[in-house]
Assembly symmetry: D2
Homo-oligomer: 388 residues x 4
Amino acid sequence: MTTFTPEIQSTLAAQGVELPSWAFGNSGTRFRVWTTEGTPRDPFEKIADAAEVNRLTALAPSVALHIPWDKVDDFGALRRHAEDLGVTLGTVNSNTFQDEDYKFGALTHEDDRIRRKAIDHHLECIDVMDATGSRDLKIWLAEGSNYPGQTDMRARQDRLNDSLGQIYARLTGDQRLVLEYKFFEPSFYHTDVPDWGTSYAQVATLGDRAMVCLDTGHHAPGTNIEFIVMQLLRLGRLGSFDFNSRFYADDDLIVGAADPFQLFRILVEVIRGGGLNNPDVAFMLDQCHNVEAKIPGQIRSVLNVQEMTARALLLDHEALATAQSANDVLGAQAVFMDAFYTDVRPALAQWRESRGLPADPIAAYAASGYQERIESERVGGVQAGWGA
Amino acid sequence: MTTFTPEIQSTLAAQGVELPSWAFGNSGTRFRVWTTEGTPRDPFEKIADAAEVNRLTALAPSVALHIPWDKVDDFGALRRHAEDLGVTLGTVNSNTFQDEDYKFGALTHEDDRIRRKAIDHHLECIDVMDATGSRDLKIWLAEGSNYPGQTDMRARQDRLNDSLGQIYARLTGDQRLVLEYKFFEPSFYHTDVPDWGTSYAQVATLGDRAMVCLDTGHHAPGTNIEFIVMQLLRLGRLGSFDFNSRFYADDDLIVGAADPFQLFRILVEVIRGGGLNNPDVAFMLDQCHNVEAKIPGQIRSVLNVQEMTARALLLDHEALATAQSANDVLGAQAVFMDAFYTDVRPALAQWRESRGLPADPIAAYAASGYQERIESERVGGVQAGWGA
Amino acid sequence: MTTFTPEIQSTLAAQGVELPSWAFGNSGTRFRVWTTEGTPRDPFEKIADAAEVNRLTALAPSVALHIPWDKVDDFGALRRHAEDLGVTLGTVNSNTFQDEDYKFGALTHEDDRIRRKAIDHHLECIDVMDATGSRDLKIWLAEGSNYPGQTDMRARQDRLNDSLGQIYARLTGDQRLVLEYKFFEPSFYHTDVPDWGTSYAQVATLGDRAMVCLDTGHHAPGTNIEFIVMQLLRLGRLGSFDFNSRFYADDDLIVGAADPFQLFRILVEVIRGGGLNNPDVAFMLDQCHNVEAKIPGQIRSVLNVQEMTARALLLDHEALATAQSANDVLGAQAVFMDAFYTDVRPALAQWRESRGLPADPIAAYAASGYQERIESERVGGVQAGWGA
Amino acid sequence: MTTFTPEIQSTLAAQGVELPSWAFGNSGTRFRVWTTEGTPRDPFEKIADAAEVNRLTALAPSVALHIPWDKVDDFGALRRHAEDLGVTLGTVNSNTFQDEDYKFGALTHEDDRIRRKAIDHHLECIDVMDATGSRDLKIWLAEGSNYPGQTDMRARQDRLNDSLGQIYARLTGDQRLVLEYKFFEPSFYHTDVPDWGTSYAQVATLGDRAMVCLDTGHHAPGTNIEFIVMQLLRLGRLGSFDFNSRFYADDDLIVGAADPFQLFRILVEVIRGGGLNNPDVAFMLDQCHNVEAKIPGQIRSVLNVQEMTARALLLDHEALATAQSANDVLGAQAVFMDAFYTDVRPALAQWRESRGLPADPIAAYAASGYQERIESERVGGVQAGWGA
């Protein structure tokens, strides 16, 4: 059985992956949102579910919020609720894609009134951050157009820069602005921040605490994502990951489910570039459990990140460098694949137990009675979803 | 100005494009459905809107229904309503993607009860066809799975064949079953009818009145769609088109909006293969007007098909064949592009007027007062959309 | 350590993967063909290299030929040479893409003289098969066009069918015709056999011994290849695999190198559909070792197929079926991934030794002195490549 | 018939598109290079052919060189030859993809000797620029790797930056360095400059005269290229275009042949961003005429750029802005498409004649006897191609 060096063990022990509150609510496609019993009705219940993931894995110390989906009257109370359950409130995500005013843009909108409203929404998000102690404001700019000619892409880019500048100016202390890019969707023709280059060019004008968010599902087919990871780390602008996986579009599947080897390559570049357990590079999930169970889905996800990190940590960098320097293509590839193909699961199970955690967190969840409890308790009310 | 031969004029006069009733309801993405004033509240209002498109263009003689979205107590009344407005009821589309029972499949489901229910739904659709006088039952099989290993693809294929066989057996007279394929969505990993090959292999076992439906938005990036048009016509199995256009996924944009030249190439192959104004090959739209006006969007769409058909009809087949036989690549391409680049719009406007139609149907719609009328009349009630 | 049941052991022992003679020659891109020392100068040397792969792995019992690249005066002598080295001559591959006459097509050409020549080339290939004892004639139809309008796709399809019919008629005994499809390249606009549907529709008209060849690199981005494997096995028309892997185009990389999980999924469907060690379904490599060492590259390749087959054989079908029937998405996925993540390499190494094979065939090759010998012996002459 | 305002006429008259010398040589795919009669044997003949394109169109005032393919003993003589024929020598393209030393990299190579050699090659290219009076050194970095793990992408990026810095330092006067990016090919796994973001990040560190080159064929499927045009113009780093078109990969087809509407959209953004007839933004072709006639292919190409520029110049910006501001999606799209669908060819033919140019340059070429002359004169010797 593989064994981990003390160094690898302490690296693994330090790892944390932020959970998205919305992963615990209902989600779906444009055709149908499937519901499940026990789905949270409010942010407090979402955080309880997230805390359960952390209790069983010690891998999910914080929970990302989405405003307005997670709006509560008293964010201080929500924060205390989280802390009581052993987790913290993390990244605050803004939303400029569900208000009628934003049909044709928000931070990019030509109409000053609407653009002002969108900026103010972000300032309100920073107010939430002040209350929750969150560090990062994450902006996924779901803006764009559906038809060529519909809008002036260039002017929107300039307005976006102005809007971001106003938002950035409101940040205090170590608060950061993290700008996510996405290849397409929900717009069909153009997206205002479609690629890492645009996000990078935008945040570079703002200041040192403006960073790029890389969502692993937001690229064109065939894109070498680990190259972008490498480049953003090199440029000092990789602020966070939204982990998930995809076969075709932004499928928001469980991280590592569609292409485990790609996740391995990404984590190798993260380690290579000093991004692992680096507070500047936040690890987050951004997933939707449309047809699978949500809490176990989140457990599976953080375990996937942990398992693949363990494989990446086993990479023999010395042997790799030697083969690379000799242009020994097959030799280098063999060293690389050896780490990937190593089955780290038994060693991880053992190591978990040594830390007082269940060897098999998914089995432990099934045996915990938690699911039965929430299914019986969470009756009535409106289940949380993207609309609420 | 280009002029049309009498033969081209009569070909154009015979052209019809079926409108989808759902194009007049609200639609959107998984993130948001945008609403507009005047949206129909029921199938009768949808058909009224469709008839308005036909009144202004003489291009849209029929309307496709979607069950259960267009379910009414009395389909005979709906049929008379349509006929009173100068249109007929066309293809009936089934729906196996919005019932809780169908979360993991319908016609492919392992559970006999659910599969029986899905088959019965199709039999009910044929009952509707009997009442409406519709010829085609169109099945878009929105079934599949999200994760490798989730399901047994092979067994599903066999069950699908059995289900289709039972449905096909219920058809009478000249009724047809048309099976649509789609590369991906709403499932993320596998789709039960993902490509024309699968649709073809399935319908070929059923009988002569089982055909393939080609939706222009349902292919992998880079697919040569006109080749598939050619092949299905050659094999005698192209039953219908769902016209729309896309940049990335199944974007359901206005036909011809994303890649006009592709639409030209498709129509050239339709003509080449004898598919134009051939009753065996139905022309339909399948679009969603998320951010643009719906009725003008439909007018624009049928005009796009008409304009591109006119260009394709202008192709000098004799000159093309001569250049092709001589392997004169640039010469053949020049003949081909000459037809595409010819501006047929003035001639079409003139020809429309000669037939008592408005030269500019979109301007005529704006001047007609119809939009103002429906916006003021259709107050209260629930606007139609994909959910109802 | 994983252990293999006797049944799995005998399955693994029966596995064979045919090697392509051209993998031992030089190859490259349109920009550059890189050469390496020791590259074979003739078919005899290619077969010697292939036999070395088989000697070390017992996995490569046959070698595919490519005509005219592997044309020799006496195919009987080549056959005896192969048999002396413990391998047989396998699939014969035709070539209609390098003769000046074929610039605009071969089996599809409008000019009867050229089409006749192309058909005759295939009849000559069958003569070779008679001499070598080969069963399969594989046709990769590298024909198409670069510009819309350049050619008449429909007429070409009909001529292709006629040509294939003439070739098929010449086959005797258990000889087969296997028609490969390819999404694109070397043509840029249209390819005459671009997808499995076209290959299937063509061979279905020929007879029972006409089959489809699935090259894993020949699909559009995002294509679910294992679905096609499933479908072709279901239809009884999967004749052979060309294994390789790709990131973007037809990259011809080592099988399993780009997406190991995809290879796993493919092999799971092969086993599910009865295609493993089924003489009707030939396993072949079709790869190019542009920058890596060729013989070790082939060893690596057959080992990759073997290792992934072993993982696929470990899949717990009973547990999988139970989870699938319960629509337990995460449970089914866990069973599936458990097989993939199992490290079969130690067990395979042990099992190899038990059969008198080297535990690590790549290390054994490095220690064998074979490479040094061919580098010193194969001096002078012209190295084999795609041009010769 | 459309008429052009004097302003549009003078804009069209100022337009120039640089021709690539290699478009006149033989080219092909990895499978075959097709030859044609009359192909130039040396750079002097290539320039003669390019001058013929310019003589007939007044659209191609300069010719790009590729070193070493266009290496001559006396570049001063080549320059005078060009000037005698009415054209100038333009961009100098370096080549680091065909020397055995560059198998594993050049400007990124780990081996200092090879990296030095690659840098020196570029310094030699600048010497050529000094002799030819060329302004731009264009670097297409055909470097990368084929397998994950083969090389250290991060270190290569740093070495690349150092190499570019050394080259940039050698530039004098208004000379510029233009860095091209390419999504994939000839490497299969990673490319050192795969996207505009990387090119931008690299050149931004060098200085004001370091720019990005956008080759229209070098993007992932579905990429919104006009967005990148807009962004690079906005950032002041769009140095030049390599025009061509593609269906799948880097197909190097005639510009505008695959997707004319995309070319229109690109030119609209060029005009919007002030890039038309702006000396900072060079227009070039980068094409290969594998199966079509080369000189007419180049004539067709520059005419395509001219025709589409004329359409883009007809765009009614006032009407467009009005519709855009009103969020009138269909209205804005109609204005946009109206320009695209306008047939500018008759007006352009008339305008050409008014300037003493042939109305139909392709017909004029066919009638000129030039092709017959070069076919009879250019006998013997070795035809130019990518290898020489």
